[in-house]
Symmetry: C2
Amino acid sequence: MAESWVNYAERIGSDLHLELSGPGSKRAALIGALRDAVRSGRLAPGTRLPPYRSLAADLGVARNTVADAYAELVAEGWLTARQGSGTRVAERAGTLHPAVPPKAPAPPSPAPPPRTRAPRRGRPTRHDLRQGTPDASAFPRSAWLASYRRALHQAPNEVFGPGDPAGRPELRAALATYLARARGVRTEPNRIVICSGFAHALRLLFGNGNGGGSGTASGNKSRSSRGRLPRGPLAVEAYGLPFHRELLAAEGVRTVPLPLDEHGARVDRLTRERAVLLTPAHQFPTGGPLHAERRAAVVDWARARGAVVLEDDYDGEFRYDRKPVGALQSLDPERVVLIGSVSKSLSPAVRLGWMVLPERYVGDVLAAKGEREAWASVLDQLALADLIVSGSYDRHVRRMRQRYRGRRDRLVAALAERAPHVEVSGVAAGLHAVLRLPPGTESSAVRAAVRQGVTLDGLAEFRHPDTDMPAHDGLVVGYATPPEHAYEAALEALCGALASSGTRVS
Amino acid sequence: MAESWVNYAERIGSDLHLELSGPGSKRAALIGALRDAVRSGRLAPGTRLPPYRSLAADLGVARNTVADAYAELVAEGWLTARQGSGTRVAERAGTLHPAVPPKAPAPPSPAPPPRTRAPRRGRPTRHDLRQGTPDASAFPRSAWLASYRRALHQAPNEVFGPGDPAGRPELRAALATYLARARGVRTEPNRIVICSGFAHALRLLFGNGNGGGSGTASGNKSRSSRGRLPRGPLAVEAYGLPFHRELLAAEGVRTVPLPLDEHGARVDRLTRERAVLLTPAHQFPTGGPLHAERRAAVVDWARARGAVVLEDDYDGEFRYDRKPVGALQSLDPERVVLIGSVSKSLSPAVRLGWMVLPERYVGDVLAAKGEREAWASVLDQLALADLIVSGSYDRHVRRMRQRYRGRRDRLVAALAERAPHVEVSGVAAGLHAVLRLPPGTESSAVRAAVRQGVTLDGLAEFRHPDTDMPAHDGLVVGYATPPEHAYEAALEALCGALASSGTRVS
């Protein structure tokens, strides 16, 4: 054992030295170096890693830094940790496809935008606690305008001609670097395709002529079957956005629910499906991360079955605890499609999202998008690229993470005082919390909230109609939605509703 | 006869006085007043209109003003003019559905964006004369940025939350006024739906769940058949953009070609179809307007058959002759869907378009678009609204119309000198011209152009594969595409190709 970690330390010493003396955190640098070592095979599957204190001493970093790095890599599935046998390189880690040269490591930042739920129009609401929207009053107008102005001034004339359907190269390059740093994503700009958001990405993957069931002969005649998403039913989590299921149904894609337990989606139930849509970093809406073993297992399944995993990285930038979860995509960039957008990190008014694709799907997704950019505003694309490269995007995300974390803390504290019977879950990340309720009390709690002028959804709204897993009662609280000045009153009204409702276990 | 026009002048005297003393042109005001009189039934079908000189004297305007107004209304189908019987109110004009209160009349401005043809990537081109793109170097960066800045500063916070799928109210209001003024469109903001461009509009009209053939049972289960576009084959012009036909085919819509003659599409050939897609103002790509009688006939057909006309108003803002052609939509707002975009007037980089809808289709188009705005950049929408309301849009269009007109004149002059055997057609409007060639010489002319470094399309590229109309040989020259400084060289190369090719009739 000693030899393997000594060798390891020696072999990657120069990398580490380089990284550890750079501007980033030592912890992030160590994670990156370890990840690269596993990925490249320099640390073979099954290899036991040195104890924290040994590696810390050797590298001149704090012991906690090493402990944190190991925990992150366990969560991501690169390492395994078992009581009594220490930390080892995961069995399948060594076979990872070295598709892309390793990028900067992932300081496990905040998590990006949760998908959006459609507002119920025409229903007046004094306190809007629906999930799915960031605080609209916090849009960084000045920073965005500064980036937009710079982008517009610097744009070459060809920007105003027909656009490349892959998206502007400036944005794809900025995203490749950013996603590597913030989410551990392994990719290259030419595997990124820009789109209008998550729903657009689903349509590009499953719509006409691209693997969904609705293409007609005439529509498909010019396409081969090479490189398309596998046909057939799509496995999804038993709780998720109904909007996504409806969109898929409209494209002719049947969704099959996977039950959830305390470790996330039961990926062991995957059978004949050829694709699965997951929210690994922060299950939507229930809130937990997918367990490390299941992360590994679902990638193994995809490899064995020639299947694909769609990773909905909806709020990956907003993580509040010490257990950041990098993108599942990094486990196998050839088996995972990562989809993200700015709808939670900036605003759904900026209609921009991205798909990080396995190489074999790039051509068909571009074909589905059209021969020219027909969707995403090219000027907004340039502005977002500038926002990211200039550091304004990071600053905004940090500021919002702090704000949302404060709101979460206030929510938890207020409920502990006013409605102690309510269990709050799923709050380690994201823009929403789930309030677990005693069985059979959800609808009365929603009604009580409505009487207090609070609009929110019960968990039942998100349940797949075909699932046979036991129903959970709960409320999904989008604590990011109200403007700052209105949050206190919304919280007050929510607590009033819960204190007065029949949800108290008597 | 005298009585009817005296009555007419009396009855609408106050309107006219009001209009004629307003800020707009007298000609435009007279057109509007006459159009309203016909629309409202104050001038009955068959009524003979007063001679130019009588009406001119009565109203205190120049005789040419009256002549122009009559000509415009004949072109739009409100009036008919026959040798020997004077100008009369068209027979079906009186039955026009008075759907919307009349808006400001249409000073028959320039024409908006022609649809885009995809560039052939990877093919080097020194002189790009492909149709479909405005001069990318002419984008009004300063004006756009000024509007964007104002819009961003003035935006209420809700702008940054989930968006209305109909589009921003500011933009819909600006477009309703602008399209009435520039194109004679009769509508209200709540009948306008914003989209990402023409292709998006076609998808919304014909895609999954909205009348196309590709919807599945599961996708459609929540929709009734009320208000949808009629199902079945879609009639299209025998020459048109292949991209549109392919898009429709992918949505499961079969297109049936209508032959063209010197008066435009043979709408008398419409039989069992329930919808027709036309380019009435400027047939794409051959270049003529749809004859006034056919404009009337196609609306009559739509009424009789419960059918719908889709008006692709792709370059309505760029008209160079004295015979402006208002939107067909004004003949019956309940039977015509008008579709436009800024792709030709500003840039395809601004991904914004609009649909002006009959009332009964609004709900389904919005349902197809989704419960929130998932497509068009909301900030760009606000910027465009400001650009229109501030007058910057009109100024830009005027400037570009002048520039493109100059280019057209140079093209015509150069060809007259260097390649007099080539007949230039379709040049009264738009961003492209058609060079008619002797039969059998098109492909050699395209090859000769390629040898000179010129990229352009032959007419054959646009021909519907199922049409039985005789083929025409010709080149489609997009004279707006090159930047100003490169136009002379492109023209030179084109003339060189034509002079040297085998297209000269010997």
